[in-house]
């Protein structure tokens, strides 16, 4: 990056957080930064939007989604789609190459298939295999649970967490799911239809270190300046009038 510290001439103040201070982002900032970072790390624009959605959803639920996304992007950077995506069958949604699945791709695909026979339906259990940054799967499952009247149980060899209308599970599950990788299975049960909890909690803060890494990914989507681009950006007339 070419910016000086405290450079006011760039449309972004997130680089100004220093390492020791907490870094509170609005949900809009978290979604925007994470979307750009995901794109910079190789996701398609439409999938990068899903990454922004997931990170901001976690922020608004008190969890530092940007740091989890950062950790995942650092591991997934440079990997091909075939090494990140699931192969969808009624009983297993695992990566064919045996790689840990990208939680954003897996979650978005879960939403895509929610109303199809291959998707999660009451009474089914789907083996997901190893999933990177599994906490990032939660926003997608919470959406499907709400829209389709379902409750999910995510289980791994040492434990399980139930995802349903009562969002009290969220903080409790953070410790279990906020890890680099888990081998997961997803069981689905019917649940009464519900709306998102009206109880709002303070946004999660992220860290300056996370912002540095996400901005580094995001900067890959930008174009270095040339004299032509500088000249074309503004008016040729004086503003001092």
């Amino acid at each position: 990056m070419s910016s000086e510290p405290q450079d006011q001439t760039r449309g972004d103040s997130t680089p100004f957080f220093s390492d020791t201070k907490p870094a509170p982002l609005s949900c809009n900032e978290a979604a925007s930064l994470c979307m750009k970072a995901a794109r910079g790390a190789g996701m398609s624009w439409g999938m990068a939007e899903e990454a922004g959605f997931a990170a901001a959803w976690l922020v608004s639920h008190g969890i530092d989604g940007p740091s989890h996304l950062r950790a995942h992007l650092e591991r997934a950077d440079g990997r091909d789609w075939a090494d990140l995506c699931p192969t969808v069958t009624p009983y297993g949604w695992q990566n064919t190459n045996g790689q840990p699945a990208c939680p954003i791709i897996l979650g978005a695909t879960m939403c895509d298939y929610a109303d199809l026979p291959e998707g999660p339906h009451s009474g089914t259990t789907i083996a997901l295999g190893p999933v990177s940054a599994p906490i990032l799967l939660v926003p997608f499952l919470a959406e499907v649970a709400r829209s389709n009247g379902l409750a999910f149980t995510l289980s791994w060899p040492e434990g399980a967490v139930r995802i349903d209308a009562d969002e009290t599970w969220l903080q409790a599950s953070l410790q279990s799911l906020g890890v680099p990788q888990l081998v997961l299975a997803l069981s689905t049960n019917a649940a009464p239809p519900h709306e998102p909890s009206a109880v709002s909690m303070p946004n999660a803060q992220t860290t300056a270190a996370t912002i540095v890494v996400l901005n580094t990914f995001a900067m890959r989507t930008t174009v270095p300046a040339t004299e032509a681009s500088r000249a074309g950006a503004g008016s040729t007339l004086s503003d001092n009038d």
Partner: protein
């Protein structure tokens, strides 16, 4: 909340203009403010409900440096504009996002700020992008003086005189904002956290409130400096002159991507306006009061067109057309047959056959003006819950997606993207300043980092894939096989339910004018006197002619 066709009566539907007509850049670039514009929505609410407006803090020295607080208070809520006035050396004055200091900086505080809040804001707001605000703040803004008019008015008032009306008319504002940020920018409150408040449900209400209070500040600071300079000789600004002043705004390419990135919102804005026009046209008769209101609105439009200045060749030509069209309309109305069937529709049809786009869109605004009771409720449908449209419908068969592309995007599929002039430009974000820019594909590097703003080409590429994909498969399967099209599929599924979601033009064509995108959005804000400074940079005026905080309860046209 989307304004979808289910709320329209069949009779009104017959009068709706199709998207193929409305959503073209050439017409969008002729948009005029209407009574559904967001600043009008704000003023109607402030005038009609129990908001009390005052200025509890004014701590400004003789050089015009310090801070003030403007308070807008109802039984339920208080909003406070915290204004910081600075002493800016002339060589630092620039409207670009790359400026580093301003004559004044502002934030709209959610509630009443404490001394600690003010101290925190004083450490951040004057630095704008280099500072941080919090969820207690709703907007962040800055403004620069119009050097020419500001000094003239201060000098005149300090000497006990009123400013020269010709000077006032030539500029139209004392200060112009160069950015008004909301929606969570720089740490501010997220839109989703405040959108449920009735007074903020319509789009951009916190931004409009910020600018309206800035307008009051611009007059207060001028009178303050004049008094400091002239002592007892100094006088206040004449109230009629004051009312004629707005707040200038200078807007560049940064705003252009917004209406492309928010298709549901764009749809809801346009659909509300088009529904309003359809309701007016569908009336079987015309009320006499409406006719006199139309006449008054036309007089105001003619006056506005007279004082509207621009040196930009495109706008000079449009202004000639507008003045000509308004004169023609005025003549025509003298003998118009209001006793015939559906006289408003007949007038509209006359306009479509007779007037330029500039005149037609001005006529639309004029026809809405006398019909507040008929159309003002549509302002309640101009917000959008974008999250509700975010999910892709993976169960949709690919055959259905293909049908949507070939019907709703016929305009896009008709563009030949193998032709150099149709891919001449590319949108990108500058590494240096993080601002959106438009590059020339043939001569500039960076096209591999193109932003997804040319929807037409993205959809054309999607169409090519979909045509060769198993039509019996699901969109979910298509997305697994072709993740690169996820962005375009989301758009197409949104457009299937939101007919006015897309600008139906090629946004990377050689002859595309970014100012057309800017004007469309700014007209919905309520801007007037569009003055392009280049093909991608425009100055406007906001709130000119509108009431001030101390006279909004007295009535007047809002």
């Amino acid at each position: 909340m989307s304004l979808n066709t289910s709320i329209l009566s069949t009779e009104t539907l017959d009068y709706m203009r199709p998207a193929t007509e409305v959503m073209r850049l050439a017409r969008m670039g002729c948009g005029h403010p209407t009574r559904l514009s967001f600043l009008r929505v704000l003023l109607r609410r402030l005038a009609s409900s129990d908001w009390k407006i005052d200025r509890p803090v004014w701590n400004v020295d003789a050089n015009g440096v310090g801070h003030g607080v403007y308070r807008v208070k109802s039984a339920e809520r208080t909003y406070s504009l915290v204004a910081f006035a600075h002493d800016l050396p002339p060589e630092m004055r620039s409207d670009r996002v790359i400026a580093t200091a301003w004559d004044a900086t502002f934030t709209l505080f959610d509630g009443e700020p404490t001394a600690e809040d003010i101290a925190r804001l004083a450490d951040n707001v004057p630095y704008q992008e280099a500072g941080r605000i919090s969820a207690k703040e709703l907007t962040l803004a800055r403004a620069n003086r119009s050097v020419r008019l500001f000094e003239h008015v201060v000098n005149a008032l300090a000497q006990g005189c009123q400013p020269d009306p010709a000077e006032i008319a030539a500029v139209g504002y004392l200060m112009r904002t160069t950015a008004v940020y909301g929606s969570g920018k720089f740490g501010a409150s997220d839109r989703a956290d405040i959108a449920q408040r009735p007074e903020l449900a319509a789009p951009f209400q916190v931004e409009m409130l910020t600018v309206w209070l800035i307008r009051a500040f611009t007059v207060d600071i001028v009178e303050h400096i004049a008094t400091a300079r002239g002592g007892e000789t100094a006088v206040k600004l004449d109230r009629d002159i004051r009312r004629s002043l707005g707040v200038g705004n200078s807007t560049g390419l940064g705003m252009a991507p917004f209406i492309v990135r928010h298709p549901v919102l764009l749809n809801n804005w346009i659909m509300a306006r088009e529904e309003a026009l359809a309701r007016v046209r569908a009336q079987p008769t015309a009320r006499s009061q409406a006719l006199s209101d139309l006449s008054a609105a036309l007089d105001a439009a003619i006056t506005n067109a007279r004082v509207w200045h621009s040196e930009h060749p495109i706008q000079v030509c449009k202004l000639d057309e507008l003045r000509h069209d308004l004169a023609l309309l005025s003549t025509t109305l003298n003998t118009w047959d209001w006793k015939g069937e559906h006289p408003w529709d007949a007038l509209w049809s006359w306009g479509v056959q007779t007037l330029t786009f500039e005149g037609q869109e001005a006529l639309l605004s004029l026809m809405l003006e006398p019909h507040g009771a008929l159309v003002d409720d549509l302002a309640d449908h101009m917000g959008a819950n974008e999250a509700a449209s975010f999910r892709i419908n993976g169960a949709m068969p690919v055959a259905e997606l293909l049908r949507i592309l070939e019907s709703d995007y016929a305009w896009a599929l008709a563009i030949d993207f193998t032709s150099p002039e149709n891919v001449a430009r590319f949108w990108y974000v500058s590494e240096e300043k993080l601002e959106p820019r438009l590059g020339e594909r043939a001569t500039e590097d960076g096209a591999t980092l193109e932003q997804p703003l040319c929807i037409a080409r993205l959809v054309a590429e999607l169409h090519e894939t979909v045509r060769n994909f198993d039509a019996t498969q699901s969109v979910a399967a298509l997305m697994l096989a072709h993740p690169e099209h996820r962005f375009a599929v989301r758009r197409a599924q949104i457009t299937a339910h939101h007919p006015y979601a897309e600008v139906q033009d090629n946004l990377i064509a050689a002859d595309m004018l970014p100012i057309d995108l800017l004007r469309c959005k700014l007209a919905f804000f309520g801007a007037s006197q569009f003055d392009p400074r280049s093909d991608r940079w425009v100055r406007i005026n906001l709130f000119a002619g509108a009431p001030f905080p101390d006279d909004i309860k007295a009535g007047g046209a809002v």
